[in-house]
Each structure stands twice: as structure tokens, then as C-alpha cells.
């Protein structure tokens, strides 16, 4: 391996920090919560989860926390996600597909505009993160 210069060291730091920062649990601007109860998984929540992981990776986004939780109580409308932008009320999206998930990520998570046609409602439970 070629010896590092100071700039190289900084580069490694920045690069690795992006993937390890979530261990320190702060600095997240938004939270994407995929509901992964048995109902959610049966309805395809895993595909939705993978779609979000892919979005984070390809767009190199590191300030969004991707997490999962159990059944949200509306099993007939799974797969569902809850999007929480820091300082705003959480939004629940229902009946998702991979495509819808991508659209929600781009418009709501990154763009800040709620995709009303897929949304169930605004408000409801709030979580700390």
C-alpha cells in the first residue's frame, strides 16, 4: 500500500465516518421507519426496506436514519412507512411499492414535500430520535 499523505488520511476519515456515524446516534435530519410486523413482511416490507437502503447508498445520503418497527396496527394497508423530518410531524404512508418508496424518498425525505397521494395521514405517534 502506498504511504498516505495528510490529504489521504482526511479522505479516509470522511469516507468511513459516513458509514459509521450512525453508531454515534446523532446528527440525523430525518427518520424513515419501515413497519416490519409479520403483516408488513408478508405484504412486501422487505422490498421497501431494501429500496430505501439502495436510495441511501446510491445517493450517498448519511443524515437519514433508516430503522424498522413492528406492526403499526393497520395491517390491511401494509407495507407502511413513517417518515419523520426533524421538527415536523411524522407522516405515514400506506400500500407501498418499491417505486412509491423511491418517489417518497426523493420528494419527501430529500425534497421536504409530502407525497399526499400515498399518505395516510399526518401527525399521530411521535418518536424520539
Amino acid at each position: 500500500m502506498p504511504k498516505l499523505k495528510i490529504e489521504d488520511l482526511e479522505k479516509i476519515r470522511e469516507q468511513v465516518k459516513r458509514t459509521t456515524a450512525l453508531r454515534e446516534g446523532s446528527g440525523f435530519r430525518a427518520k424513515v421507519n419501515v413497519h416490519m410486523g409479520t403483516c408488513g413482511i408478508a405484504a412486501g416490507a422487505r422490498t421497501i426496506m431494501n429500496a430505501f437502503i439502495k436510495e441511501l447508498e446510491t445517493r450517498d445520503v448519511h443524515d437519514v436514519l433508516l430503522t424498522n418497527s413492528g406492526c403499526a396496527g393497520l395491517c390491511s394497508q401494509e407495507p407502511m412507512v413513517t417518515i419523520e423530518i426533524a421538527g415536523q410531524a411524522p407522516v405515514k404512508y400506506v400500500n407501498l411499492t418499491e417505486k412509491k418508496a423511491q418517489e417518497i424518498f426523493e420528494k419527501h425525505v430529500l425534497g421536504g414535500t409530502i407525497v399526499k397521494e400515498y399518505a395516510l395521514g399526518i401527525g399521530s405517534e411521535k418518536t424520539d430520535y
Binding site: 504511504k3 498516505l4 495528510i6 476519515r13 422487505r46 426496506m49
Partner: protein, 610 residues
């Protein structure tokens, strides 16, 4: 592959403790089981498992911390893994049965930071605890590893580095508390004879019974130590360094070797470090486990390949150390503090702690304490806070009796001094010392004479034999203590012990001998009544010294409660117990060898000890 790992985004990082304590509790098997189960559920692109250094809460190992969220799972077994993976990592439901519940509470505490054990801790030397894989230099770099090195090599002169360390107030964490900045200045100023050259040494010869701070730091964050040493080398003008670590620490040696190789590959060690023109490299020297080799002159002799025996000082290592060259020796924890001081500044560091003792100290908390483990606390914290708030108090609701700090060189601090603030001066004043940070908690069932005898047997065993006061003096003290614990002590013994202790303290060659009498002196000072009981009434108040115990069976309890269960008779090794089922049993004192088995096996409290 390393490149790929750098870019890969996972939604969950499972931080599995891979410190020696958890490893011996099968944490590597748990790691494998987790990986297998994760794969089974097709989660391998979402969830990653990261082995880390010691988490600190060793009592509760094996430990798994889930990030993000800082969810603390404890005492895991391989059989728990499938449930945990399916529930939490697949379905997102936290599994409360694997969480920690503090003794006085009913509900488990899911988040690590909310657990009392972790709440009062301040992490400087252990800053990367549970956050990095110690075998991956990149993860250390991501946590600002080698950032201070860049600063020291490019923006600071050696004098500026030394000034910063001096102003920080950092003192040697090996025990004696010599000001680190001053030591560096002395080595820097020392003229190097015959051809120049100076050395840096990291003392990792941790030998105190019950102490494991240095081992944990080397295992958990070897790059912190390496970085500190390179900064020190720049400050004093050294070109070579040694880490002296005992061979009984295989994991520490292994992780340090990996770290050194990685640092060398990256050009953070070797010639022309980071293209700045500075040259420095580090070798590992493995010690064979002689306690005396923790003493700096013996340690240097051992590195040179000679017998590990101390020599008189002066000359101090700063003037004439390894191969006669000026040498700067600091302890593992001291080196691990250095990068943080350079990064965040002397003022920040000096803002933590007390007037004379700055920063934090790592302690290994062992003995009769609920939360055994590794803790880092600000200087000035009270013993009470460490024992009760962090340590969770004494098991079984028993009374706290004393705390032994500083290992065999330290002393026992009694309950009356529980509000003592922890710093170098107050511990010394109490007759003990900071030491490297071992903290052994004792409860009401501990005999202080027996403890003194134990420590003396340790120092006697470990005495290198070079100087008479230590070689013969520790033997003489041990003989007296053994005599007292066997009920054969006389009134003169206390005075004799005191005289011996004081003269050994004054005349021994090195730190080992000079401090060996401390356990005797402090127990005499605070627990003289226990010595007197052993000598005058031939009784051991804690019933530890079995030769002084008299065992009897209460006939009423034996028959009415135990129905003459006969267990004691069947277990008696010397056939000293007679009696039949449903009848009261009796011990024949002439035959009794005082092994105490009857006391231990009686389920009805019928056997009494006096």
C-alpha cells in the same frame, strides 16, 4: 474488500463486545451465530456485526449494543440469537428479556446511556469504547484517530507539544502520578551520549491482581496508544519506541500487532511519516509476567534482554534509560490520553478533575461489587459514587467494609472514608495510592488481616530478590501475618510488623519493595481491632481465618427445622460429626479440622461459627 466495506451502508450495526471478558464468555460464537442468522433472514446487506473492544460492563457479558439507538443487550447466549435476530433486527421489536434491569428496579433499561453504570462515566482514554472494531484502522481514523498526530507533526513544535501536555496537568497513570509534561521536558533536555538517539516506552506490564485497564485499552483502541507515542516521540526527539506488554495478554498483543502493521502500511509509522519527514517506529516487547518488570528500571533491563531486575535511581530513565540513552516511559493509559489533549487543547483537559489531578482515570472495579467492570471517571469523584452509583453497591445487601486501591502497592481505605474524592493526593494521604487503577471492593465478610497476608504473599512471591529489605523483609512480614491468622500471634507482633514495614519502606531498592508494606500499614491503621482480635481472643471477626473458627450445631434448629437431615455428617471429611436422621447432630471438636464444610452445606442455619 476493504474498499467495499468502506462504502457499504448498513441500517444496523451490531456492536459485539470482544474484550477478553466477553470473549471468554463466548462472544465470538455469538458473533458467528448472529452472522449466520442474519444471512438466514437475508439481512446481510442491511445489518452488519462489528466486534469491539471492552464495553466495560464485564459483569453482564457477553454484551451486544445495537446502533443506532444504543440498545444494550446483555448476558447473551448462542441459543438467544435466532429470537433476537427475528424480533429486533427483522421485525423491529426490541427484546426486553435480554435487557438489563438494575437491581432495585422492575423494568429493564433499553438504552445504554440510561443505565446507571454508564451514566456518570466520562470517556477520554476509553473514547472509542464500543464504537470501533480495533482491528480496523479506518474505523479508528473515522473517530478522529491520527488527527492529533497531523496537528503535532505539521502545526506544533516539540516545545509547543510539551507545553500543551504540561498545561493540561496530565500525570502518569501508572500510579505514581509524575507530571507527564515535566517528564517529557526532562527527556527532551537530556543530552544523548554516544551517537545520539532517545527512546519512547509504553509500560503495559500490568500486574496488579484485579487490574485490567491497560489490557482493555490495548485491546479496544491500540491506535490511541500508538498515536500518543508518535506524538511523544516528536516532542522529545525519539526515533524508536517499545511497547512492553505481558505475554499473558494474548489478545492485546495480537490486536496491537495488527494495529502496528496497519499504521506502518499507511505510513503513520516508519520513515517520513505522512510525508512530514519525521521518522519513528514501534516494536512490541513481550514480558514473561514478572510483576517487578512493571518497575521502570527492571522493565528497561528486560527490554535490553537482561534479567528483569531493578537498579538504583538516579540516574533516572530520562537521563540514562534504554542502552544508556534518555528514555521516556509512560503507562498505556497516559499515552491514550495524549491525542485527546492535543486535539482538544490543554485548557479543555485541565477543566476536568481537581486542583492537582486533572482529567479522568480508568478503574477496574472488582471484588464484592454488583457491577464488576471497567469504568472511566473524572478525577475528584467520590468513592461512594464509584461504589454505589456506578458499581451498584455490594451484592446480597451486605455492608461495605473497605476498598483496596493501587494493588499490592496500595492500601485499604475503610468505610469511614467513603466520601473521599479520588485524586493522587487524597489517596496517598489515606495511606493508599492511585496505582494503575485496580479497585478491589471488600464487604463485611472480608478479614483485613487475611487480605494483608494475601498481598504480602503476592509481593513476597514477586520480589526479585536483589535487595535484602524486600527479599527478607516481605518474608518476615508474611511469616508474622500467617502466624496471626493461624491464631499464634503475640502482642509484640503488631509492633514488629509496624517496625518492619517502616524500615522496608525506607530501605528497599525499588517501588515494589518500598510500597509492599502499604497493605499492612493501612490495615494496621484502620483495622487494628481485627489484628487484636486475632491475637488476644484468637478470633477472626469475619470468620475467614478458619483455624480460629469453632463450629457447633444448634441441636434445636437441627432437629426442629432440619429434622436431623444428616447432610453435614455425610459431608464431614474427618468423621467429626455424629448423629442420626431426625436427631440432633454433634461435632466432636477434637476431631474437627475446621474445614467449614458443615457450615456451607447446612441448609437450615443449624451450624454456627464462632
Amino acid at each position: 474488500m476493504a474498499e467495499k466495506a468502506k462504502d457499504k451502508t448498513y441500517r444496523l450495526h451490531l456492536m459485539v463486545c470482544a474484550g477478553t471478558g466477553c470473549v471468554s464468555n463466548h462472544s465470538y460464537e455469538i458473533k458467528e451465530a448472529l452472522e449466520k442468522e442474519i444471512k438466514k433472514h437475508g439481512l446481510e446487506n442491511e445489518v452488519t456485526v462489528v466486534p469491539t473492544g471492552c464495553n466495560g460492563f464485564c459483569e453482564r457479558g457477553p454484551i451486544l449494543v445495537v446502533q443506532p439507538g444504543n440498545i444494550f443487550y446483555q448476558q447473551l447466549a448462542v441459543k438467544d440469537v435466532p429470537h433476537l435476530v427475528e424480533e429486533h433486527f427483522l421485525k423491529g421489536r426490541l427484546v426486553s428479556k435480554f435487557m438489563y434491569t438494575p437491581p432495585e428496579e422492575k423494568k429493564p433499561v433499553p438504552v445504554l446511556n440510561d443505565i446507571p453504570f454508564f451514566k456518570k462515566q466520562v470517556l477520554i482514554a476509553l473514547r472509542n469504547r464500543g464504537l470501533i472494531d480495533p482491528e480496523k484502522i479506518d474505523e479508528s481514523i473515522a473517530r478522529d484517530g491520527y488527527k492529533a498526530l497531523v496537528k503535532a507533526l505539521t502545526e506544533m513544535t516539540p516545545d509547543k507539544i510539551i507545553t500543551e501536555i504540561t498545561l493540561s496537568g496530565l500525570r502518569g497513570r501508572g500510579g505514581a502520578g509524575f507530571p507527564t509534561g515535566l517528564k517529557w521536558q526532562l527527556v527532551r533536555n537530556a543530552a544523548s551520549s554516544n551517537g545520539g538517539g532517545k527512546y519512547i516506552v509504553c509500560n503495559g506490564d500490568e500486574g496488579d491482581p484485579g487490574a485490567f485497564m491497560d489490557r482493555s485499552i490495548l485491546e479496544a483502541d491500540p491506535h490511541a496508544v500508538i498515536e500518543g507515542m508518535v506524538i511523544g516521540a516528536k516532542a522529545i526527539g525519539a526515533t524508536a519506541g517499545f511497547v512492553y506488554v505481558r505475554n499473558e495478554y494474548p489478545l492485546a498483543v495480537q490486536r496491537l500487532s495488527i494495529a502496528l502493521d496497519q499504521a506502518r502500511d499507511y505510513g503513520l509509522l516508519g520513515s517520513d511519516i505522512l510525508g512530514t519527514g519525521f521518522d519513528f517506529d514501534i516494536q512490541i516487547k513481550r514480558g514473561a509476567g514478572a510483576f517487578v518488570c512493571g518497575e521502570e528500571t527492571a522493565l528497561m533491563a528486560s527490554i535490553e534482554g537482561r534479567l528483569g531486575e531493578p537498579r538504583p535511581r538516579p540516574p533516572y530513565p530520562a537521563q540514562s534509560g534504554l542502552w544508556g540513552k534518555p528514555t521516556c516511559i509512560n503507562n498505556v493509559e497516559t499515552w491514550a490520553n495524549v491525542p485527546m489533549i492535543i486535539n482538544r487543547g490543554a485548557k479543555w483537559y485541565a477543566g476536568i478533575g481537581t486542583e492537582t489531578s486533572k482529567g479522568t482515570k480508568v478503574f477496574s472495579l472488582v471484588g464484592k461489587i454488583n457491577n464488576t467492570g471497567l469504568v472511566e471517571v473524572p478525577m475528584g469523584i467520590s468513592l461512594r459514587e464509584i461504589i454505589y452509583d456506578i458499581g451498584g453497591g455490594i451484592p446480597g445487601g451486605k455492608a461495605f467494609k473497605a476498598v483496596q486501591t493501587g494493588g499490592p502497592s496500595g492500601g485499604c481505605i475503610p468505610r469511614e472514608k467513603i466520601d473521599l474524592p479520588i485524586d493522587y493526593e487524597s489517596l496517598t494521604e489515606a495511606g493508599s495510592m492511585m496505582g494503575s487503577g485496580g479497585m478491589v471492593i471488600m464487604d463485611q465478610d472480608t478479614c483485613m488481616v487475611d487480605i494483608a497476608r494475601y498481598f504480602l504473599s503476592f509481593t513476597h512471591e514477586e520480589s526479585c530478590g536483589k535487595c535484602t529489605p524486600c527479599r527478607e523483609g516481605t518474608k518476615a512480614m508474611l511469616d508474622i501475618l500467617t502466624r496471626i491468622t493461624a491464631g499464634k500471634g503475640t502482642e509484640e507482633d503488631i509492633g514488629l510488623l509496624q517496625d518492619l514495614a517502616l524500615s522496608i519502606k525506607d530501605s528497599a531498592l525499588c517501588g515494589l519493595g518500598k510500597t509492599a508494606p502499604n497493605p499492612v500499614l493501612t490495615t494496621l491503621r484502620y483495622f487494628r481491632d481485627e489484628y487484636e482480635a486475632h491475637i488476644r481472643t484468637k478470633k477472626c471477626p469475619a470468620h475467614v481465618c478458619r483455624q480460629l473458627n469453632i463450629y457447633t450445631i444448634n441441636p434445636e434448629t437441627c432437629v426442629k427445622v432440619g429434622r436431623g437431615c444428616d447432610v453435614c455428617r455425610r459431608n464431614c471429611a474427618s468423621d467429626a460429626i455424629t448423629g442420626q436422621k431426625n436427631e440432633a447432630h454433634v461435632i466432636d471438636r477434637a476431631k474437627c479440622i475446621k474445614c467449614g464444610v458443615c457450615f456451607d452445606v447446612c441448609n437450615f442455619g443449624a451450624v454456627k461459627v464462632d
